[in-house]
Point group: C2
């Protein structure tokens, strides 16, 4: 982020927080320049940016004023998915999403990748280089089946931050959080079983269910408090459900953090019905608030929570370093690790262990939390500006994903095809439903820095949505 | 290998080949020293080594003579496993084997790891170091789901050596050969299915079957020509078998290479019964003969062979770079890759691609083929010397594994527990059977250089076996 962007964010925050009220005059360029010790032109750039975001309005010869406050779009209401177990579909759409990976010409708003263009990552790739040079034998050899000891020790420390006391010997290192979830599911479920999921929920997990012939029952989910415990309870009474997959902290795609009381409630529900909780904490470290929110695992007394996570979102996906704390399923998980994925890559495990141990991890995560919060605010403003009225939008409590709900009739699957021709990739909402719901929704990756290219792309998305709405209005003759 | 070891191997070979006959006088130390341009003491060391191996005998003041030829132990006969589908057991024993990994005090004769203390591997870890420094972005990012293009191109080239013409787009990169087999099995089979396997066969694959609730039917297998096609045919007529897992080239554990005619026969059998062949080619590059043997895949016309392999044995396990050429199951395999294991580690894939492209791979493999052949000859001699009579032993056509069959009553599972206390790890034969057969067998890893420590360990194994046989004779009162 450049200096003027930083400043603009700061001012935008003050406006959001009501420190500068609607209609109020902002400090003069000169005053701000002195206050922040930056040049006049930097302040001018920052003001122009805020003007573009329609947060402030210039009045000739009087300076800048806070724009009349445009109402925040409402948050999406509780979802209402199909209330019976279904087979997961949507593979072709997921493939389309994955296929554009690595194409530099495409703006990947649909991806879930973190920002990797960060100096805080330098110690990580330096460390990979170092271990390859200095410990070639370990790098070349088969590793321990459960993962390297020094890494499991660091992971145990990270888990403490979420309140879970887990010893390194109770942890199994996996290939990313995806690998963790796959092993967890294969250890607990068999083909034909039913598993409950939040709705919407992450498409990777859905495709896993499909691959293993497990049926999904989608449970209504609130964009601010998470899965409906009442609806889950009803489903548990009606169907032989084996477990529930939850992303309770900084949910993908909705961004909520389940309140602690609800985390406890869902755990006791799981105990009453003797089901398993697959807890996916992959975004948990990126919560806006500090200290980070607790995991459901931290309340687990009888080992029924299988905590799965990775450094994919907090650090980098390419390491493929993830883990499970499988509670009472430890033995089955170790066997399934051997059966389904066998040994891990020592080099990246060694590098990640040092990265955490030497403090680089926490420094990087602290910084990224801030950046992502700022990005999400900026993108929220931009969406208000570029998108038509009548939409709902999440107010994420962490992570870097925004979820938009458009009027019922807008079909984001076909809009996404159109955008793809403009080299813009988005994730239509239907990817996040086993039954193909949420075609009128989309998820936006706010890890992309809000630079000119990305702002323009967002504008194009807004225009395409506008077009789809108009088209629809014409078709309906309204 | 030191100079004198090299020389000893050379002379041992000439003796094996009959160039020096039993009872014949060997060239004088001085003659050999001149011929090979090495010091007198080197020749003396080599001769002493051959004397230790009982290949030559010194006669005072007359020089060295070729020892009377001790008969080669016979090869094991066709195996006779249980002829019905069974659930795989033996997990605890496999765990014991895996648990000693990385313990430097243990001599790992039971492992399947290649020799990693080789200068030919230097370009590989150097390359890892280089890609981390020079392409950090690619190293940090999610990769393509099917693996990096440049790596798939190199893999396609390697497949050509085995006669299979496969385009890079028909290849899916996996986490080792184990990951390849797991994805292949999950793509084709479901819980409750039956798969035929060679007997004995690699314990990792067996545990996979167990993990996925697939039953194994063990087919009689000959230590020189491979699986009995007749017995397989009978089994196919009797049971609803989905496919057969084969390691046709440099089999683990038996070391055979299936003759090409039998490879063709088994393929047409598979066609007639419409089953799938899971071909595991992991040792195929390490065949003693050059050019390397053909894969069954090379004869495949209707895409029913899923060829699985990796660089684990030919290069290094720690890279976790493997692959599948799944033929007509490509789409299912790609989906299952996403479901079960998701993306791979870019860093090691990039390094391996360069390692192959720049010729280091072929150079290394050529050298290792020779070393392993020499090692296996040395160990064969040592076994004849250290082990009691009445054993059978394979004559591998490649790879680095020897398989020993002791008298029926010897229990290698308990011998292995005893040896473990002496810091020697062996793989008892029962690991290689779904039904716990072959307790009187063991597999020896000849990738361990035959240095003093390892020779001594082998001697101790021989003594332990001798002890078990004597114990048994006493118990039986013979
Ligand atoms: C909620 C959630 N779980 C799991 C994953 C997969 O993570 P990994 O790349 O570590 O396998 C993702 C990645 O997008 C995710 O968003
Ligand atoms: C026959 C066979 N297949 C597969 C494997 C697993 O290979 P990887 O380590 O590449 O997963 C082994 C390793 O011992 C093996 O011997």
């Amino acid at each position: 982020m450049t200096r003027y962007q930083h400043l603009a964010n700061l001012l935008a925050e003050r406006i959001e927080q009501g420190l500068y009220r609607s209609g109020e005059r902002l400090p003069s360029v000169r005053t701000l320049s002195q206050e922040h010790g930056v040049s006049i032109s930097t302040i001018q750039q920052a003001y122009r940016l805020l003007e573009n975001l329609q947060l402030i309005t210039p009045l000739p010869r009087s300076g800048y004023f806070v724009s009349p406050r445009k109402a925040q779009p409402p948050v999406p209401a509780m979802t209402r998915p199909v209330q019976r177990p279904v087979e997961v579909s949507q593979w072709d759409e997921v493939m389309t999403l994955l296929d554009t990976r690595g194409d530099k010409n495409v703006v990947p708003f649909g991806s879930g990748s973190p920002d990797l263009d960060q100096p805080g990552l330098k110690p990580l790739w330096r460390e990979i280089s170092r271990v390859a040079q200095h410990q070639p034998e370990a790098v070349m050899s088969y590793d321990m089946l459960t993962g390297r000891q020094e890494l499991r020790e660091q992971i145990a420390r990270l888990m403490l931050d979420g309140g879970a006391v887990v010893s390194p010997d109770e942890i199994v290192v996996t290939s990313g959080c995806h690998g963790a979830l796959a092993i967890a599911l294969l250890s607990v479920c068999k083909a034909g079983d039913i598993v409950a999921v939040e709705s919407p929920s992450y498409h990777g997990t859905m495709q896993m269910l499909r691959g293993f012939d497990i049926k999904a029952i989608e449970i209504p989910t609130d964009s601010q408090t998470g899965i409906s415990i009442e609806a889950l309870e009803m489903a548990l009474e009606q169907w032989p459900i084996k477990g529930v997959i939850l992303v309770p902290n900084c949910n993908n795609p909705l961004g909520f953090i389940m309140p602690d009381s609800r985390k406890r409630q869902i755990l006791s529900l799981a105990q009453r019905h003797d089901i398993v909780i697959f807890e996916d904490d992959i975004y948990g470290e990126l919560a806006a608030a500090y200290p980070r929110p607790s995991t459901i695992k931290s309340y687990d007394v009888d080992g029924r929570v299988l905590l799965c996570s990775s450094i994919t979102k907090s650090v980098a996906p390419g390491m493929r370093v993830g883990w499970i704390a499988p509670g009472r399923y430890y033995d089955r998980v170790v066997h399934m690790k051997y059966a389904a994925s066998s040994f891990g890559v020592p080099a990246t495990q060694m590098a990640v262990a040092s990265f955490i141990r030497d403090g680089h991890y926490h420094r990087h995560v602290r910084r990224m939390r801030q950046i992502y919060q700022q990005n999400m605010e900026t993108y929220t403003c931009l969406v208000r500006q570029y998108f038509p009225c009548g939409i709902c939008m999440t107010r994420p409590q962490g992570g870097f994903l925004l979820w938009l709900e458009l009027p019922e009739d807008v079909d984001m699957v076909s809009v996404s095809k159109q955008l793809r021709l403009q080299n813009i990739q988005i994730a239509p909402g239907s990817l996040f439903s086993a039954s193909g719901k949420y075609r009128n929704c989309l998820r936006i990756n706010c890890a992309l820095p809000p630079n000119e290219r990305n702002r323009n792309a967002l504008k194009q998305i807004g225009e395409a949505v506008q077009g789809a709405m108009e088209h629809f209005a014409i078709v309906r003759g309204t």
